[in-house]
């Protein structure tokens, strides 16, 4: 591990300028730190800049201003081989887990990919793949090694994606809306797996979501992003209890409106509201 800080963003601004159009400020003056082993949720509406933030951490976008240090390296200065070396120490969990596995690649190759990329000898990969599969509950692991994604259930594919996330022992896992496209039961499976893996490996976790209810269950700390700015951050419970910024309040209220109570149904003359047998 590289000291106590895994991510340090200082005054990061990212502006897209296109000819004839107003510049788009995807990120403005963002300061953010993530400590080793910490779980941070980045919360905001669609288009607020959450995914841009992840892309900046992975060196897929270069900030217009400010510095981004990840695992002790200045991401802005990295190109080619050095950038790839840094990426090998982190892992991105995608929004759509089905799509993130190669349909023609067996589970063994898919999970071993981070190992192959970081140059682990072929002979040493299998044992680590087996261990990772066992860790995510795909047992007996040997029976899963030769299978292709199309022969797996949704939950199993999800687990394969999780095994791949931890097999190379990354120091930072970034999860970009990993649950927004999933059914309730799969969603919970993903959250449970991520948290258990985070705990067992002491990995730092940056969890990107629009849903504070999910954020509450996965993170210790939450950062609210709105219109490219980091408008509020602090311990989850504190933010939920007393959201200071209007954008945070909007997010809290939205979850309450979605899942909370609402006025009772319109009373209707020929409706007694009783239980019915359809």
């Amino acid at each position: 591990m590289t000291g106590d800080t895994v991510v340090q963003m200082t005054a990061v601004t990212l502006t897209y300028r296109r000819r004839g159009r107003d510049p788009v400020h995807a990120l403005r003056d963002v300061d953010l730190e993530v400590a080793a082993g910490e779980r941070l949720a980045v919360v905001g509406r669609s288009g607020a800049g959450k995914s841009t933030l992840a892309r900046v951490l992975l060196g897929m976008e270069q900030p217009t201003a400010g510095t981004v240090r990840v695992l002790g390296k200045d991401v802005a200065g990295l190109r080619g081989r050095r950038l790839r070396d840094l990426r090998q120490r982190m892992h991105l969990v995608f929004q759509d887990p089905y799509d993130s596995l190669h349909p023609g690649m067996a589970v063994e190759q898919a999970v071993a990919e981070p190992l192959a990329i970081s140059g682990v000898a072929r002979g040493q990969r299998r044992a680590r793949v087996v261990r990772a599969l066992e860790e995510v509950g795909l047992t007996p692991a040997e029976t899963f090694l030769p299978r292709v994604p199309s022969s797996l259930s949704g939950g199993q594919r999800q687990r394969v994606a999780m095994a791949r996330a931890v097999v190379a022992e990354p120091e930072l896992v970034i999860a970009d809306e990993p649950t927004s496209m999933l059914d309730a039961s799969l969603r919970t499976t993903v959250i449970d797996l991520l948290l258990a893996l985070q705990r067992d490996h002491g990995t730092a976790l940056v969890f990107i979501t629009h849903d504070l209810a999910v954020a509450r269950h996965v993170a210790d700390r939450v950062a609210v992003v709105d219109d490219g700015q980091l408008v509020e951050h602090g311990p989850v419970q504190q933010l939920l209890a007393a959201p200071a910024h209007p954008a945070s309040r909007l997010l809290v209220d939205a979850v309450r409106a979605l899942h909370g109570t609402r006025p009772p149904a319109d009373p209707h003359p020929d409706d007694d509201g009783a239980h019915h047998d359809g």
Binding site: R45, I117, D192, L212, G273, G278
Partner: protein
């Protein structure tokens, strides 16, 4: 591209078999040419213009050369040219396509202009001009053919690379720190294999034809006997004027046909494998459904929609089994279940919109006092949009990208507002659902997901339905937008006096926004009743789902358990 796992249709398998058999015949002739032919192909071995005999099975040409031997040896030339030119063209095209598609920018622009240039020039003329310039050797000709043939695979490959590079597993490899070489070789190229094989076979067929054509025009390699060359000499020797065409022109012509047809059949089969969507299933007899003899009893008072014992099958699979639901006046019905539980099929069956494979095997659907099974296709069409309207799943991503949202709403509104009133009505509708006037002329891509969902809802309610069914209206939207969309649906319910059915996988949404709930699992209803039943669920599946739903207030889930204790879905 996942089609490699799809079995070929029987007719295609037959074609593949015939094609392979034809090619095997030609390959056999080429391999065994020295054994089977008693005479050399390019030296005189008998009198000129000999008729077929036991010594010369197909006679001899104007120089006394054995035509049967020429036929067998010609197979070697055709196969060699086809194979080598196709290999070179495919390799070159693949390399150019991969690099252009992956690197992009000026490299891409340059490569594609070169492709355009090559494809724009008339193919045979180009080869002829180049052959006249570079000389007549077979090797030169093969290279020239490859030098023209690479352009098509390059263009195909590039478009596929652009498509595949957006796939999750390619981006995943990228952010795992994989090198470009690894990404292209392990992730991109393997998905191209079915396409490449069919491209290769087509290129081989073209190369064989072009070589024969060039040789027939007398521009071929004078030292190598090929089918085209035999035809050139037959033409010069005036074979067509005597009955010599029977053994001089027909056999090489047939041989060429055999190779081309063989390659075409194999290519067809490979193409079907590469792109299963190309498969034509032919004309299908429309299913004639007999109208039930007795009308179903009307729905009880206060019930808008009554579904009784509905069963829907896809082939032998039951998508909806014996399902009964009732939509009651003034009460929002929530239908909740995971993907694959049958909730969307139920909705489609009610609207008479099942895909052709879907069959309503049993049950009644009654809307007010109308038995939907008895009104036929036209009756259902008249009913949709006017009586029952649907907000289809993910429809916000399926708006027409070439039309303004106003024009799309107006198109729907014409039905009741008429041609003259449609434009004004569309503005009204868009404002009603909360799309500001300034955005009415926007195209779908200029609007956020939430705005597009509002447009879809405006289209659904355009003709004043009594019942609105919203299939996953909030999926893919952020929580704030989700809440706004639900608020909108509730407002429309009041202002337009319509009944609402919410189909969703989100239990929290149903609990907060419906009055009655139907919980589906594996094509069955597992619980139904007022939403209050969600507070004390009886079914274990439901208990588990509720216990595992993240919430703002409940206890934080005890995640400090071992991973293997995480319940499998």
């Amino acid at each position: 591209m996942r089609g490699s796992a799809v079995p070929l249709q029987r007719s295609t398998r037959t074609l593949l078999g015939v094609g392979v058999a034809l090619l095997v015949l030609v390959i056999g002739a080429a391999v065994l040419a020295d054994v089977l032919a008693a005479h050399p192909p390019n030296r005189a071995s008998g009198p000129p213009y000999a008729r077929p005999s036991s010594a010369h099975w197909l006679g001899t040409d104007d120089l006394g050369r054995d035509l049967f031997s020429q036929l067998l040896h010609g197979a070697r030339v055709s196969l060699a040219v086809g194979l080598i030119a196709a290999t070179l063209a495919t390799l070159l095209g693949t390399a150019v396509g991969l690099v252009a598609g992956w690197v992009g920018g000026w490299v891409d622009a340059l490569a594609m202009r070169l492709v355009d240039l090559t494809l724009a020039l008339p193919f045979l003329v180009l080869v002829l001009v180049l052959a006249a310039y570079f000389g007549r050797g077979l090797e030169t000709l093969t290279l020239l053919i490859a030098g023209v043939l690479w352009a098509r695979p390059a263009r195909l490959l590039r478009s596929q690379v652009l498509k595949v590079s957006r796939f999750g597993h390619v981006r995943a490899a990228q952010v795992m720190g994989a090198s470009v070489a690894r990404i292209l070789l392990r992730h991109v190229l393997p998905r191209m294999v079915p396409l490449l094989t069919s491209v290769f076979v087509r290129a081989a067929a073209v190369a064989v034809i072009v070589q024969a054509g060039v040789a027939f025009l007398g521009l071929g390699d004078p030292h190598r006997i090929s089918w085209g060359g035999t035809l050139f000499f037959a033409n010069n020797g005036a074979a067509i004027l005597t009955d010599a065409w029977l053994w001089w022109i027909i056999p090489p012509g047939m041989a060429l046909a055999v190779v081309i047809v063989g390659l075409a059949f194999v290519g067809y089969a490979l193409e079907e494998r590469a792109e299963p969507r190309l498969v034509s299933h032919g004309w299908r007899r429309p299913v004639r459904r007999r109208l039930p003899a007795d009308p179903a009893p009307p729905a009880p008072t206060g019930t808008i929609l009554d579904v009784r014992g509905l069963t829907v099958r896809y082939g032998t699979a039951i998508a909806v089994g014996q399902m009964s639901i009732a939509v009651r006046r003034g009460r929002v019905l929530g239908i909740v279940g995971e993907s694959g539980s049958g909730k969307s099929t139920l909705v489609l069956a009610v609207l008479g919109l099942l895909p052709t494979e879907g069959v309503v095997a049993a049950g009644e659907v009654v809307l007010g006092d109308v038995d939907l099974r008895r009104i036929g296709r036209d009756g259902l069409t008249a009913l949709r949009g006017r009586e029952v309207a649907l907000v289809p799943q993910a429809a916000m991503n399926l708006l027409d990208p070439t039309m303004t949202v106003h024009a799309q709403v107006a198109e729907v509104a014409r039905r009741t507002a008429g041609r003259d009133g449609a434009a004004a009505r569309a503005h009204e509708l868009l404002e009603l659902v909360g799309v500001a006037r300034g955005r009415h002329r926007a195209h779908p891509h200029e609007l956020s997901g939430g705005m597009r969902q509002r447009v879809v809802i405006a289209m659904a309610v355009a003709n004043g339905p009594r019942l609105l069914i919203a299939d996953e209206p909030t999926t893919g939207l952020d929580v704030v937008t989700q809440a706004e969309v639900l608020q909108l649906l509730h407002r429309l319910r009041r202002e337009m006096d319509l009944e609402l059915v919410l189909v969703t996988h989100d239990l929290g949404v149903v609990r907060a926004h419906a009055d009655d709930v139907v919980v589906m699992q594996d094509a069955q209803v597992v619980e139904h009743g007022p939403v209050a039943i969600l507070d004390r669920p009886e079914h274990p599946h439901l208990q588990e789902l509720l216990a595992r739903s993240p919430s703002l207030d409940g206890p934080i889930r005890p995640w400090s358990q071992r991973v293997d204790a995480v319940v499998a879905p």
